[in-house]
């Protein structure tokens, strides 16, 4: 898992300052629109919340399966 993520980070960071290698610079590909911090923050918050819920539901599932086996 860590190796996968690390590999991805290396390709993404190693490519800079190009967004498409030797075709377009990252800086040139940027939108002229302001205020993108807000949508980035909103999307991050949404996915953190969903990740939190998933972890909680998985823990529920895990505990419930433990109970079932203990009761047998």
């Amino acid at each position: 898992m860590i190796a996968l993520q690390a590999g991805w980070i290396v390709t993404e960071v190693g490519r800079q300052p190009w967004i498409i290698y030797e075709v377009m610079r990252t800086a040139d590909s940027l939108t002229p629109m302001p205020g993108l911090t807000y949508s980035l923050a909103a999307v991050c918050a949404l996915y953190l919340f969903l990740a939190f819920v998933v972890v909680r539901l998985m823990l529920n599932e895990f505990r419930a399966s433990g109970d079932a086996e203990g009761g047998r």
Partner: protein, 333 residues
């Protein structure tokens, strides 16, 4: 038909499929939220059974439309995704939340109170997503996304924060609810449950027709190209006649409880609306500046898009046919 028009037709076809399948999916969520009467839980159970197997697959059409748009018409994609960033993001938040809450409700080992909470999130997200899908299409139709030197510089709000796009949003919501109710009346196991959805289909269908009139009147100030296209072109009369015929026969079929016919007629109505909309913005893809011809990618790219679409449909279409035959054929359980 050249390659660019072929790609545009592929986008249109995916939008139609998305409205007929994904739209009904949203409508199912709306009826889940509005479930009421003595058969409240039976209604919810029917909705969950109807959309459970297909709600993920249905969104494939949105993905196809967006991918073909950004591959075959990059300037159009750039303009739309900046000018309509906010409604697009809100729509996607709705799509994500309804999928997540649907699964959390069905599979999470949680108590009844929490399941009811996720059910409300599912319903609310099912209302938000089609409204903003309509706002996006209405924003495109309004024709305020003007592009100079390949860049749209109108800010995040100007293209969609007006009455016309929101009227289109409400219309989309009513139309999808109508479509879902017509499908659900057919899928219901008992005559009483079918009657619940028959009533819902008639009411939401009437609301959708009233809203379509509102959209038309608002288009005079909010989307002048749209109203002009409607008044002055040869396709208007046949389209309106077809729409009226589909409307009357769909309502007639619902009235006489011919549900198998009603769902196809309701679907036909939706197709006619979308074709009329597409004809009104043609030859533009994002009016006023971006046309199918001047926004298309180079021919080499378009050729690859055509190959990818052909190869993709070889996989996609049989799998979808199989999925629907397994879960949607008559005489199940």
């Amino acid at each position: 038909m050249d390659l660019a028009h072929g790609a545009a037709a592929a986008i249109l076809a995916s939008l139609i499929a998305y409205a007929l399948l994904g739209g009904a999916d949203f409508g199912g969520g709306v009826w889940d939220l509005l479930a009421s009467g003595p058969r409240k839980s039976a209604q919810r159970k029917l909705i969950a059974k109807a959309i459970g197997p297909v709600w993920e697959a249905n969104h494939v059409w949105l993905i196809v439309a967006i991918v073909v748009l950004f591959t075959a018409f990059p300037p159009a994609f750039a303009a739309v995704s900046t000018a309509l960033h906010i409604p697009l993001a809100l729509m996607l938040v709705g799509v994500v939340l309804r999928g997540a809450s649907f699964s959390f409700r069905s599979y999470g080992r949680t108590d009844a109170a929490e399941q009811a909470r996720w059910g409300r999130v599912f319903g609310a997200a099912s209302v938000v997503a089609p409204i903003f899908l309509g706002v996006v299409l209405g924003g495109v139709t309004a024709g305020r996304i003007s592009v100079t030197d390949g860049v749209y510089a109108g800010g995040f709000f100007a293209a969609w924060l007006a009455p016309f796009p929101f009227a289109v949003g409400l219309f989309a919501l009513a139309l999808f609810s109508y479509l879902a109710a017509a499908y659900l009346a057919w899928e219901a196991d008992g005559p009483e449950l079918a009657d619940d959805f028959r009533r819902r289909a008639l009411v939401s269908g009437a609301v959708a027709m009233i809203l379509s009139a509102a959209v038309y009147f608002l288009s005079y100030s909010g989307a002048p190209r749209f109203s002009r296209a409607f008044e002055g072109s040869p396709f208007t009369l046949p389209l309106q006649l077809a729409a009226a015929a589909a409307l009357l026969s769909a309502f007639g079929a619902l009235w006489f409880r011919r549900y198998a016919e009603a769902r196809y007629l309701a679907a036909a109505q939706t197709v006619i609306f979308i074709l009329g909309w597409a004809a009104s913005i043609y030859p533009a893809i994002i009016p006023p500046d971006l046309l199918i011809t001047n926004a298309a990618a180079p021919v080499a790219t378009l050729r690859l898009v055509a190959v990818a679409l052909a190869a993709g449909s070889l996989v996609l279409v049989p799998s979808l046919v199989f999925l629907f035959r397994v879960f949607k054929s008559e005489g199940l359980d």
